[in-house]
Symmetry: C2
Subunit: 350 residues, 2 copies
Amino acid sequence: MPELRYDPLRQCWVSIAMERGMRPSDFFKPIDETSRGGFCPFCQGNEHVTPPEVYALRPDGSPPDGPGWELRVVTSKFRALAMEGDLNRETEGVFEKMNGFGVHEVVIETPQHDLGMADYPLEQLEEIIRAYLTRLIELEKEPRFRYIMISKNHGGAAGATLAHSHSQLLAAPIIPPAVSTELDAAREYYRQKGKCLLCDVIKQELEAEERIVSQNDDLMTVAPFASQVPFELLITFKKHQHTFAQITKSQVTSLAWALKDTLTRLKLTLKDPAYNLAFHIAPNTNAQLPSGNWTTLEMDFHWHLEVIPRLIQIHGFERGMGFYVNFTPPEEAASYLREAGPPDVSGSAL
Amino acid sequence: MPELRYDPLRQCWVSIAMERGMRPSDFFKPIDETSRGGFCPFCQGNEHVTPPEVYALRPDGSPPDGPGWELRVVTSKFRALAMEGDLNRETEGVFEKMNGFGVHEVVIETPQHDLGMADYPLEQLEEIIRAYLTRLIELEKEPRFRYIMISKNHGGAAGATLAHSHSQLLAAPIIPPAVSTELDAAREYYRQKGKCLLCDVIKQELEAEERIVSQNDDLMTVAPFASQVPFELLITFKKHQHTFAQITKSQVTSLAWALKDTLTRLKLTLKDPAYNLAFHIAPNTNAQLPSGNWTTLEMDFHWHLEVIPRLIQIHGFERGMGFYVNFTPPEEAASYLREAGPPDVSGSAL
């Protein structure tokens, strides 16, 4: 019989429908259709095609916007938000709007066209995390940005339109809804119990063990109790930390390990599936806020990473109602992923 | 420059990014991969393969679960929820769960394997609406069901796993999150202003005209101001009505016309795209509720239909953050759809 489970972070019910019992092999798909051949604007030598770089890793001291880089951050050509004018909030009857004021950047993670994030050596993952951190801290200086989203699309089924591995940053004057809901949940839990909700979830998951995929001293990867989709994962620091911007040098190394370990297990178990990665962090503390005790709220939040494999097409109940039906219980997903390893995270997964 | 727009119903911001300017032809896709050949459990003569019918239209008076039907409703073989035992709510530390107590039904809309909903004559659409209504009213008699979801997946990209046109009902002991948020918005607006939010939206949209796709005396179809995805549509009665179960006989005919007109415009403009249909209605008034003035809340809600074309893969900001970036402004979508018609809704669109 199916089971309804409540997700305390997202504050919603999910149906875990064991009857269909979908296994990893039910999700294997031919490699997806993002163009692997043809001209690639993210490859070395094509730097003139992208907007100028705002950050780059150039160990050879090469000049900007030419070859020689190991990582580049550029403004997106297809901007979801843009840095022009001011917010210009306007009300039109029941509707409200403002300029799409913000920054949309692309992190070109590697000069190598055919590698995925699971394939990088640990050092390269550390450099990517440092690039996120540097841009996050820089973008948070602008007080009109309420939130910096960091996200990755791996594979066409996850929304990637270019095969060359990259991730994206979006600095916005609003807090995204999925994070808003989690902030509300964190604040309410703290108000009621005087402690952090995710800290309590982590404690319980470490005791229960059955949904833990892997861990190191600092971080753990867990298949959430009320996973919305098969093989959904959450990567989090075990100790409370409200935003990614707080992480220390040694924690960067730990996080690189956790990412490498988790993405390698996914790749091995599900044959390189499409997935999204999303950083759920506290809002920008430098934002000029009209009201509310947001400082407390930010401290109550426990930042984490969502890993969302895109194995199946979500259907009407999910897209139209927000009610998810998951045919792979998280306990089984965690078990498959544990069996895949421990991968050798020190080298390449290829 | 992109524009940020606030959706008062869903209570979230959306980026309408005009720069990319995606037109209908950018979304044309080869017909999708749901099996059009092979054995079909929903075709006439294969009734023994499905669970027994709970409702059917049999003008020839033929016996149940054999040929002769024009429409059948059966229990789903892959149940997201099932009618067994009781709710059995349990708390496990920070987590809550209960039995997946509910009913999951499939409406086989036609014996004809290759027709889509846009292709049916008006009379058949009326019969489908009457089937939804009959099952809704029957399922709402069970007080443990808090909500009856009605939804449709057209095409593999919308989550349909069988090509033969069908829709689904899911009676659940919880209110789905997307409806919950809209209920909150409706209640808050009513509390503040003493009137219905969607009534005000409708009034403003009818005055503005630019996002209206089509209308009749009773209903209108509009591309919402803060559309999350290209060509998203909302179909609603112009006059306040809190649930689908309230509609009159003549309103069934009007709704059939609106569905036929809207889906035909979508089919013509976007070459038979995949889409989801979702009925957003008030919760079950017969539910035994532990607290709260839900009766008022239900009356404040204005039921409507969401039509969500599945033209693009949603990406990390959308799936991971709930922040949608839409490259087709709703004013342009409405304009394309208006130009597609008026289709001859009295006959078939084929």
